[in-house]
Symmetry: C2
Subunit: 502 residues, 2 copies
């Protein structure tokens, strides 16, 4: 057997163990009884699978196979990518002592609990020691991985492979004033601003669920290859190459939670359901990067799901679900209500314009925390957060729960993650611009509830490739260009200026 | 570290892998999309966990630890039982070549598919080659295990540890004429026989579900340590030591399916939820045997769930769920309707009296198939089945779907399994007799919907011990006696003669 084939089989086992752990985690969040005993049992099972995987990954055999495979000639594009992913995972794993992995996992678990309590009481001081410890551990991790030029680069690379923090910095530097300009223009617009009132009425949760199921069915979510359930936080989980599950949450008095949560996760799922069969059960059956994954969920949620054309088809249907609330409410006003732009404290509730500013704030702070933690006193973090909020959005959080304590990420050590959300928006708008050039009839199709050509484009150009290409290579392959944030700015201007009569 | 402690840790990992596979199987039957792709992915995951477990189990290290632990002095009762279970599993595993394990698994998978098709068309001939192959493989398996005196003993031992087929034969020899006598007496009883008509009306499935949830809550099913879902075939699955799940099925036009299915599985679950904490995550966190497990499900389903006292409490409640069907239907007639005795073709639909005869038929046949397969031509099996049905129950199946093809067991190689169902009934009635002697007030408590003393007795005497003791040792420990089938006969006579005015 060739080394690459043997390597592929070895990593197929690792991928299956990965799927198994994903199911253990899915069940934990969706159906597992909410008791300490059940949680303890499950965490031991997950730790066991992780230990078995880790041992297999770092074994000498893996290293030998990688070395041998590297000497094999004429690897095809898939095998080359497999080898690259195998090497990437192996080298990272052997660089990190298992004690550090365990210490980070333990600190993440304790840190998340401390964060939950701190946020509930809006008391940063009780979370501070956990955050300090986690930053120390993440720095240590970054030092061992050592991808340079800065420590933060090693962390960014986890989520957006081969992206450099200097590159993201330059993109965000370009984006920031342009987003602020749009926001200021909208804020200073005159009368007749849209409001969210209609979204905050009571919507029967069973009907919300049924509507969400009707929508994703129409979006070509394949129920032979997946399902939807409910959970506290919506997520997408592939539990095998042929079984991708999404979750949604339903708020009785806020329609967008379920509606756009479902469309967002459906976008992730369509990506996972579209990997070509050759990639199944390999580590290439994965998104190209977190940013690219997010580009798919946000394309469906925002560019499609919050568009005039989308609601031209769905509003009459949704009216039948909620005639009391919607029969006398004009379609155009509804479209405007789901596209309200205004500075707000909480990232996950932010609109398309301000969202990027929330991300830039986090990116700037965490880059500093990791690279120059000596310069930045953790005690000062809440104040720095608040003054950045004032600078970017013109508002100051009334407390830390609505400020520095709002996100779970840092408590679990996920430094480097946030920027992928914004990169997702940038990728999505650049891809969509290309799509519109090639399929000018698309808006008409969406008006008719026809998403097949859209999905076919995404399948052919993005989904099928899984993790074969690197994010910027794939973007160039699809759109012929490097990342250009002006597509996103143009998209925002074209969409939001008319909504605000500008 | 002492060898027994190290052994315990090793087997804790195996138990966790076992729990993980149980979750993979639970999800497969409860929530997994019904597609070939999803099924294929899942079966590969299950096979991987099995392979990892098997490798760990048969490793030299396991053997060495067992040897060392056997020399350790003063093992307590739990450690002794742990050592016994470890040795039992290890020795069985090293006796069986992995090729045979794989071959049986493959044949079981193909055999089950062939059986499903054969049963649908009532065509034994298409299933015959698979059955022949499976019998050959099971004989080979039994030869390797070699627990003697006959091949069949090695298979019985899988399900009812250390039970000998000669012992079961002698029990069933005693039981058979007594069951037949009761049946004949009931059949020749006069007018006013109960009927099942009331059970075959339409019962709203959502209300059936809600009633089943209300009942198991009252029976002290702990929803912090488990849950109920729906599946095609009801089953109980512990996915960790603190998470036991049951399933039920709902038939719109047959009330007992959900009602008694739920109580039956709840009985299994209460057993699993009652293991003492020291046994958690070990192979002793399991029923003492399949027969003992079945004794718990059948005690709750039949002895309690089909009793007059039980319905004295529940009938008024159930009437509120289904007033249309039940408001004018007398409680006593309902009690009689769920206790109709009559010969029927299908085992799983049989009443408490005829059920044992269905089992005896299968036991006699499969013992012959395994021990003397040369004497018994498989082609003759349908005819032999039918003539035994005539002998035992006085009826002849109209086709093989209602005869030899009705059960899945043989297609998957589960020879030796059937008798545990009847042993369960025998254990249950002997235990219940003991319980009544010690707690004469129990029927009164059940009339009041109070199951706490009943559960406490079962917890203290049976559940907490898990798999520490061997079935007959445990029975003697609880009741002070060896198995005596007359308790079951007496129970049947006392219950059914009044129902039939005898």
């Amino acid at each position: 057997m060739s080394a690459i084939k043997e390597l592929r089989e070895r990593f197929t086992e690792l991928m299956r163990l990965n799927y198994i752990n994903t199911l253990l985690g899915w069940d934990l969040q969706v159906y597992m009884p909410k008791s300490e005993g059940a949680a303890k049992g499950r965490s031991e099972q997950i730790a066991l699978i992780e230990a078995i995987s880790h041992k297999k990954l770092i074994s000498n055999k893996t290293g030998e196979l990688i070395k041998k495979a590297e000497t094999e000639k004429n690897l095809n594009v898939i095998d080359s990518a497999l080898l690259r992913e195998a090497k990437r995972r192996y080298e990272k794993a052997i660089k990190i002592p298992i004690e550090l992995v365990t210490e980070i996992a333990k600190t993440a678990s304790l840190g998340q609990q401390a964060w939950e309590k701190a946020r509930a009481k809006s008391d940063f001081s009780t979370f501070k020691p956990y955050l300090e410890k986690m930053i120390r551990l993440e720095r240590e991790y970054a030092e061992k991985i050592d991808l340079g030029p800065t420590l933060y680069d090693s962390l960014v690379d986890i989520y957006e492979p081969e992206a450099k923090s200097a590159w993201i910095t330059s993109i965000f530097k370009e984006l920031k004033p342009k987003l602020m300009k749009i926001l200021h223009k909208i804020e200073s617009s005159g009368a007749d601003k849209p409001t969210q009132e209609i979204l905050k009425k009571y919507y029967d949760p069973d009907k919300q669920w049924n509507l969400s199921m009707e929508i994703i069915k129409k979006l070509n979510f394949d129920f032979n290859k997946g399902r939807q359930d409910k959970s506290v936080h919506p997520f997408t989980a592939s539990v095998s190459s042929m079984d991708t599950r999404i979750t949604t949450r339903i708020w009785d008095n806020f329609l967008p939670a379920c509606l756009f949560g479902t469309i967002h996760e459906c976008g992730h799922a369509l990506y996972e359901m579209g990997f070509r069969e050759e990639l199944h059960d390999t580590f290439l059956a994965d998104g190209c990067s977190l940013g690219f994954h997010e580009s798919q969920s946000r394309l469906w949620e925002n560019i499609i799901g919050r568009s005039k054309e989308f609601w031209s088809y769905w509003y009459p249907i949704m009216r039948k679900y909620f005639p009391g609330n919607l029969n006398n409410y004009p379609e155009d006003e509804f479209y405007r209500s789901i596209n309200v732009v205004q500075p707000s404290f909480i990232r996950v509730e932010a609109d398309e314009v301000t969202y990027g500013l929330h991300i830039i704030l986090r990116f700037e702070l965490e880059k500093e925390l990791i690279n120059n933690s000596d310069n930045l006193s953790i005690s000062e973090l809440p104040n720095i957060w608040n003054s950045k909020m004032e600078e970017l959005l013109g508002i100051i959080p009334p407390d830390d729960a609505k400020g520095v304590l709002q996100d779970v990420h840092w408590s679990t050590g996920a430094f480097g993650y946030f920027s992928t959300y914004s990169l997702g928006n940038l990728y999505a708008s650049q891809i969509y611009e290309d799509l519109l050039t090639k399929q000018p009839n698309l808006p008409e199709e969406i008006k008719n509830g026809n998403y097949l050509n859209l999905l076919t484009y995404l399948r052919e150009n993005i989904h099928q490739h899984g993790r074969i290409y690197r994010p910027l290579d794939l973007l160039k392959k699809v759109t012929g260009e490097d990342l250009n944030p002006d597509y996103f700015i143009k998209y925002l201007e074209n969409k939001f200026y008319p909504i605000y009569n500008l």
